[in-house]
């Protein structure tokens, strides 16, 4: 393909702009990394920019050597995987009928659902509802109350609505039921959006914090984010009470940096893996005109 001069200039500008902007987004994480690998004194004095000062791995050994944290890590992985599966299933099942004109209650049900997106239930009744369902202290309380993200479900529905009507018709002629159409035709064709929405759900479950605080009383079942909050919210002014004499190569500042990274890096790594689903044309590749 030939490019005009204008297009070349644009390409150049585009690359420069995107890479410059992307760099600003990497810096904060690099700095956190540097802080987590620096001595407490250097960190508290803000002398750390992008390279560790007075290098030490004490914060990381402290965190990674912590068994309780790994239990919490396991719980988070579990609710992320299980939660994403449950949510995707609920969401596609709900989205499919709502994307079909044949479903006559489509409009009222949609309206009813959208209303719940705008009107939020107050916290106490929400808490009491989940409690009445007997979910206190169960990991289900971290999954079921948010099983359908309305936003995500609507995204899937929008995508389903964009699929050619002829697909349904020809499938029906072949004797497919609606379940068959959904699982054999719609889902394989919707990989980009399913990847997107799974990512949204997975990140949401990964970051589960508020619900755990509400519903899980047993510290053994706390997910990672809850557990790590202990390091992030040390009441600084009360530190005098908790202070202990002794020299350690980490303190709240360096631990904070390390915990933030520890809590985000695994989920960040999911995205590059999902990127292949965003390749242009992957959806209709299988479709013959």
């Amino acid at each position: 393909m030939k490019q005009t001069n204008g297009e070349k200039t644009f390409q150049l500008f585009n690359y420069v702009f995107l890479f410059a902007a992307a760099a600003t987004m990497l810096l904060p994480l690099l700095q956190l990394l540097a802080v987590s690998l620096s001595s407490p004194v250097a960190a508290d004095s803000k002398r750390v920019f992008l390279l560790p000062v007075e290098f030490t791995t004490a914060s990381w050994t402290h965190i990674l050597g912590n068994e309780g944290l790994w239990t919490a890590f396991g719980i988070t992985v579990y609710i992320t995987v299980a939660g994403t599966l449950v949510s995707m299933l609920f969401s596609v099942l709900t989205a499919y009928p709502l994307a079909h004109k044949e479903f006559l209650l489509r409009k009222p049900v949609m309206l009813g659902i959208v209303i719940t997106m705008i009107f939020n239930a107050p916290m106490i009744p929400f808490f009491l509802t989940v409690r009445e369902l007997g979910m206190m202290n169960s990991l289900w309380s971290l999954i079921l109350p948010g099983a359908i993200g309305t936003f995500n479900m609507i995204i899937i529905r929008t995508f389903f609505m964009g699929l050619p009507k002829e697909l349904d018709d020809s499938a029906k002629i072949d004797g497919c039921s609606d379940f068959g159409i959904l699982f054999r035709i719609y889902l394989p064709l919707s990989k980009p959006v399913l990847a997107t929405v799974s990512l949204f759900y997975a990140v949401g479950y990964w970051n589960t914090f508020q619900r755990a605080v509400l519903f899980i009383r047993d510290p053994e079942k706390w997910p990672l984010q809850t557990k790590l909050r202990a390091y992030l919210t040390s009441p600084e002014e009360l530190a005098a009470v908790n202070l202990v004499l002794g020299d350690y190569d980490f303190n709240t500042t360096t631990l904070k940096a390390a915990t933030i990274l520890f809590a985000t890096i695994p989920i960040i790594l999911v995205y590059p893996y999902l990127q292949k689903y965003f390749v242009k044309g992957s959806m209709l590749g299988s479709l013959k005109e």
Binding site: E7, F10, Q11, Y15, F17, L18, F19, M25, L26, P28, L29, L93, T94, Y96, P97, H100, E102, F103, L105, K107, P108, V109, L111, G112, V114, I115, T116, M117, I118, F119, A121, P122, I124, P125, F126, L128, T129, V130, L133, L144, A147, I148, F151, I154, F159, M161, D178, P192, V193, T196, I260, T264, Y271, Q275, F278, V279, K280, M283, L284, E289
Partner: protein, 322 residues
């Protein structure tokens, strides 16, 4: 099955959908023919009833003097007193104006940003470069506002990057964070920086769904990149854009507490004090559940009204949410 439907039409769906007698046969026939669709949506319906509508009924405490020891059943009803309390709050209009202004900025600048960025990504031809840049752009989404707020304050401090540049240009340093006129720009720009990459994902998914044959045909017709974008890429993204716009508008007055709270200083209260920060003072500090619920209802009603209007407009092009 029929029970559920019955229940649906009676209890939970709004008045506008009550089924006229004459049409009943049509619905029954429809259900018989497409019963699978009804089965499919059942778990979803149950989910919304149990986890959304049941607790939502608790919003009634907005009309009560809710006393936590007594619970909802025995707390006294006070009618619209809580709403009166809000509307007579001396700074209510200031707070509302600030909220609406910032919300509007978010809509005008923040909403198109990921769309534009997604289009820019789409122009990157080198696969590797594209993947790297995309992955980097979505990193800030994972930082909390406490962290990002700290970064913003440090960048704009007297020794920060911005004032260093001003220094090289021979200009006096400005303490941006304590000047009202910069506050809203800072809010909008930092929000874009943090979430624009994340926001593109959904549009990239939409772009990924475009049939490559369309582009090939366009090239044959002599369309340049710009024309391709305008006539192929954007129209394909349009349904997604519209849905996101509608979903956004429904939560128009909800800006998110974390960002503003972490950027606000007393010097910028007059432009940055928003509904959420007020709710924090009234709710968290004073435990006034009834008042905060009333404020929430107010926000939702406004949001719903806006959504209703825009959805009507969208329906003209068969793209409405309902």
């Amino acid at each position: 099955m029929a029970d559920t439907l019955d229940q649906l039409s009676k209890g939970t769906t709004p008045a506008s959908v009550r089924i006229p007698k004459a049409k009943e046969n049509l619905y029954l026939a429809n259900m018989r023919k497409h019963w699978m669709l009804y089965i499919m949506i059942l778990p979803g319906i149950i989910y919304y009833l149990v986890f959304k509508y049941v607790p939502l009924a608790g919003s009634a405490i907005a009309f009560q003097d809710f006393q936590i020891m007594k619970g909802m059943m025995s707390s006294p009803w006070v009618g619209l007193d809580n709403f009166k309390f809000i509307f007579t709050y001396q700074d209510f209009y200031l707070v509302l104006r600030n909220t609406a202004t910032i919300a509007l900025y978010h809509l005008v600048f923040g909403f198109p940003a990921p769309i534009i960025l997604a289009l820019l990504f789409n122009e990157v031809r080198l696969m590797l470069a594209k993947r790297v840049v995309q992955s980097l752009f979505y990193l800030p989404h994972f930082l909390s506002w406490v962290v990002v707020g700290g970064i913003v304050f440090e960048l704009l401090a007297s020794e920060g990057a911005f004032n260093m540049i001003r220094g090289w240009l021979g200009m006096e340093p400005i303490l941006f964070m304590q000047e009202q006129r910069y506050f809203r720009s800072i809010v909008v720009i930092s929000a874009i920086w943090k979430d624009v990459g994340w926001g593109t994902i959904i549009y990239l998914a939409a772009i990924a769904g475009i049939n490559p044959n369309l582009y090939e045909a366009a090239v044959m017709d002599g369309a340049n990149r710009w024309k391709q974008t305008l006539h192929i890429t954007l129209p394909t993204m349009f349904p997604t854009i519209l849905v996101l716009f509608l979903l956004n508008i429904g939560n128009f007055l909800e800006l998110g507490f974390d960002q503003i709270y972490n950027l606000l200083t007393p010097m910028t209260y007059s432009v940055g004090d928003i509904i959420e920060t007020y709710v924090y003072r009234a709710g968290v500090l004073q435990g006034q559940y009834s008042v905060t619920t009333a404020i929430g209802l107010f926000q939702s009603v406004i949001g719903f009204a806006l959504l209703w209007i825009f959805n009507r407009m969208a329906r003209k092009s068969e793209q409405g949410l309902w």
